[in-house]
Each structure stands twice: as structure tokens, then as C-alpha cells.
Amino acid sequence: MTAPLLDITGLKVHLHVGERIVRAVDGVDLQVAHGTCVGVVGESGSGKSTLARAAARLLPNLPATISGTAQFEGRDLLGMNERALRGLRRRHGFSMIFQDPLGYLNPTQRIGAQIGEALSDEDGAKTPRIAALLDEVGLAGARDIVRRYPHELSGGMRQRVMIAIALASAPKLLFADEPTTALDVTVQLQVLQALYRLHRERQMAIVIITHDLAVVAEICDACHVMQSGRVVESGPTASLFANPQHPYTARLLELSRRRAGVRP
């Protein structure tokens, strides 16, 4: 048996807010094997985003105590220096996409430049590679998109651009933090399908952070349910959905079914 791609054990992120300590993540274990798709589900404030940010080393510069371990291909992520971290982010490591693509794209830079700077220089001319990435995320029709600014695109297009940026480093692992939450319902499904296609075609592992169990049901192999900084239940998606053990999971499922019922 090979080591998992991402191996998190006993991860704690305690934020210092004034005199108080907020236990955003409080002892989480999470394994992601090569080429699999794992969902982390929970309501807002359950610590799922903080977990992903901590693992991707993208937490904002706040006073916090982080303990436990997180390894990527056997290498210690939490203690890794910035230089090694950059190496992983630039090529064949991991990347991340976010809930609000408008805020996460630079408003004063053209799309082409923002994708281009994520490409490493060693792999040849950038222009054709940018075009190839745009093709891959389903923006082939919009040729002039490289010359546009983020505010000139629709929400779905922006999220596709974000995905293109994330793919630029040919990552083995993609953290997707609420990738569809800010989008229209119809667009949500398209973006999700694009993610799933990329997951299959590229053999890329994905960690999807979401409050929406429907998203997990759609594409995830395994699922972890988080509440107040802890994983309360985890297992293969199918069995977890069929037979939830924890009442919190059952409640989330119930909520999700009800929402699905009223969907157009």
C-alpha cells in the first residue's frame, strides 16, 4: 500500500482573537489518496475552510497556534519553508480555488496575465499553454478572454478562469473551497461537471470543501462531516449517505434533500 498523497493527522488550528482562543480546527485526521476525490462537509463556521487553508498553507497572517501534522507525498507541509512551498505550488504540487472568484482575481490585471503568471517558465511559450488551459476548462469559445478583466466576465466564467489558474501548475491535488456556492444553480452544475471531468482526465485528486451534500454526492469517493472543528463522521460517500451514523450528518442530509426538493 502506497502512502496517501495528503496525510493530515491531529491537525489543530487555534486562532487568537483578542484574549479568546477560537478552536477553528480541533484535531482533524484526513487522508487523500492519489487521484481520488474527497469531500469535507459542514455548516459555515465548522472549520472546514480553515482546515483546507491550513493544509494548503494559505491561512491569513493572524496570530494562531497550529499543531498536528500535514504531509504531502510524505513531506511535512506545516514546517516547510516558503521556498520549498513555492516549488510545490509552481509545479506538480497542489493548488486551490475559492468561493468568490471575483474577489480572488486581480481586478486590475487581464485574464491572460493572471493565468500566465501561474505557468512556470520552464515549459515553453506561454500563449499556447494559456489557450490550452482555457480550452480545458471549457472557455474555448471566448478567444478574446485573455484580454479581458475579471469584472467583464460572468460568475461561471470567472470560476472557470480560477480553475485554469489552478491547473496551470499541473497539480496532483486541488483544494476546492466552496467552488459553486456563489454561482447560479444552472452554472453550479456545469462547473461541477468540469471539475469532475478534470479529476478523471488528469488523475488529479480533489478535496472539495462545501456545505452542500449534493455536491459531494455528485463527485466524491469519500466524505468527511465536520462540526465545530472536528470530524464527526467519515466514510465512503455511498454508505455514509445510505446510512448516516451521526445525528448531525442525518440533519445535513435531511436539509439537503429538502433543498433539492424545492429546486427548479
Partner: protein, 289 residues
């Protein structure tokens, strides 16, 4: 944090402790307390009277005159000690006057949406069009420069800052639930403005008062430096006005009064910084890994 109506006493105590724990704020407070003590006790600590002339004119710093003497033999140290009175009085007086004018305009504009609001804010903009120093000079040219006129004139030049701040606070708060509740309860406009909204907007306003005081002190010093401040008061700016003619033969006439202005202005700014830090403890933290 905005909905809190009036801070309970215990909470105020916590604020005070939080303020004391900001190094900036404490240094500022200590500087200002010392200056205030010096200003009050001036006759006790000054070695010479403010107008007392000695035979030693343009004497460099020595044991008898720690900071030297000016062109007519007055002791610079004593002049600086007495000068703290004018600076602090005008600084604080002006800041309070600006609070009154700016507060009235800001509250009225922020509370009444519509015509009153846009009209008043246009007036604020009008006053901000001219550089403060030009406005002040112009007013002094036309009306003279007595102590009270000076306070009024400088306040007239800097009140828009406070008005804008208070206006912004009121616009932020006027849509909140507790204001709507007060309206439903039939409380008078004056009551809502002064008793409901104002206490919630107080903290940044106090910070602005400290900043206004530092600006006013700089403007007053500038007027003194141009020889246009109240001639009957010893002022640091005026000492620099005299020093301008003796830069070649008496550097101490420039160095020490200017340093006094600087320390005072820094004191007010540090105080404001400390107060700001209490309001927004992690607001100012930056850093890129």
C-alpha cells in the same frame, strides 16, 4: 459591537486597561501629561520669567541657560516652558471647537437623509477646497489674531475632518435596528441623535479630537512662524519666527522650540494611535509571508 448602547462600567475599565497595554498610547498619554504639568506649573519650574531679559543675548547653551538665550537675552528654556501654554490651549481649544462645529454639521447631515444632507456636505466640501493654512491666513488678514479669534479661525479651517467622520458614523448607524426601534417608540429626533446614535459613534470621534489637536498645534506654530499669531502670548512658532533671522549665529534658537512642537504633535498622534488600536485591535496588522 455597534449595537451596544452604553458601555457598562466594567467594560469601560477593560477598555482603559486595553489602552494602557498599547505601548503607543501610553507613551503619548505620558508625553501629554508631562506637557500639561509643565504648562500648569510654568512659573514654578521656569528659571526665568517669560519676558525677563538678561544681558547675555544670543548665548549658547550653558549651565546658566541650558538651552541658550535669544537675540534679546531671554532664556530659551523658560520661553519653551511658557510657550507650552499657548500650544496646548490652542490645540485642545481648537479641537473642541472643531468637534462642536463638525459635530453639529455631521450629526445633522448624517441623521437627515436628503436635501439637508447633501446641502451640508456641500458646505463641508467648500471648506475643504482651500488649504487650511490659506484659509487661516486669509481670515487672520481680515480679522486679526487675538487668542479667541485664533481658536475660532483654526477651528473653522479644520472642522470638516470631524464633520466627515461623524457624518460617516451616523450614515453607518442610522439604518440599524436600534434606531428604527427608537423611532417606533416615538422618541424625539434630538433624543435619537444624541442619546441613541452618538454614544455608539464616540470612539473614532475621540481619536479625531486628538488628531485635530495636533493639526491645530502645527497650524498655530505656522502662524507664529509667520509672525501672525497672538503677539501677547509666548508661542513656540513665534520663537522660530525670531530664529529665522539668527540661523547663522544661534542654531539653538531654532532647534529647541521646534523640537518642543514636534514632541507635542507626536504625543497627540501616539495617543490617537493607541486609542485606535483599542477600537480595532487587529485592524492594523499587515505582513506578507
Amino acid at each position: 459591537m455597534g449595537e451596544r448602547r452604553v458601555a457598562p462600567a466594567a467594560f469601560r475599565g477593560a477598555r482603559l486597561r486595553a489602552f494602557a497595554s498599547t505601548r503607543h498610547g501610553m507613551i503619548g498619554a505620558v508625553i501629554l501629561a508631562l506637557l500639561a504639568a509643565i504648562a500648569i506649573a510654568a512659573p514654578l519650574i521656569a528659571p526665568y520669567g517669560p519676558l525677563q531679559q538678561t544681558s547675555a543675548s544670543l548665548a549658547p547653551p550653558s549651565a546658566a541657560f541650558p538651552l541658550g538665550t535669544d537675540n534679546i537675552g531671554r532664556d530659551i528654556l523658560s520661553l519653551i516652558i511658557y510657550g507650552s501654554r499657548a500650544s496646548l490651549l490652542i490645540g485642545i481649544g481648537t479641537a473642541l471647537a472643531a468637534l462642536l462645529i463638525g459635530g453639529a454639521v455631521g450629526i445633522l447631515a448624517g441623521f437627515h437623509e436628503g436635501v439637508v444632507e447633501s446641502l451640508l456636505m456641500r458646505v463641508v466640501e467648500l471648506f475643504q477646497t482651500l488649504p487650511a493654512i490659506v484659509l487661516v491666513l486669509c481670515a487672520i488678514a481680515l480679522f486679526g489674531s487675538g487668542f479667541w479669534i485664533l481658536i475660532g479661525v483654526v477651528a473653522l479651517a479644520i472642522w470638516p475632518l470631524q464633520a466627515r467622520l461623524i457624518y460617516g458614523q451616523f450614515v453607518r448607524l442610522r439604518g440599524r435596528e436600534f434606531v428604527a426601534a427608537a423611532r417606533v417608540a416615538g422618541l424625539s429626533s434630538a433624543h435619537i441623535m444624541l442619546r441613541e446614535i452618538l454614544p455608539n459613534a464616540m470612539q473614532p470621534i475621540i481619536v479625531q479630537v486628538a488628531l485635530d489637536a495636533s493639526i491645530a498645534i502645527l497650524i498655530e506654530a505656522g502662524l507664529g512662524f509667520l509672525g501672525l499669531s497672538d503677539p501677547s502670548m509666548v508661542s513656540w512658532g513665534r520663537l522660530l519666527y525670531v530664529a529665522q533671522d539668527h540661523m547663522g549665529d544661534a542654531w539653538w534658537m531654532s532647534l529647541f522650540p521646534g523640537a518642543a512642537i514636534c514632541v507635542t504633535v507626536v504625543g497627540f498622534n501616539l495617543l490617537a494611535d493607541g486609542l485606535n488600536e483599542v477600537i480595532d485591535p487587529r485592524g492594523a496588522a499587515g505582513g506578507l509571508p
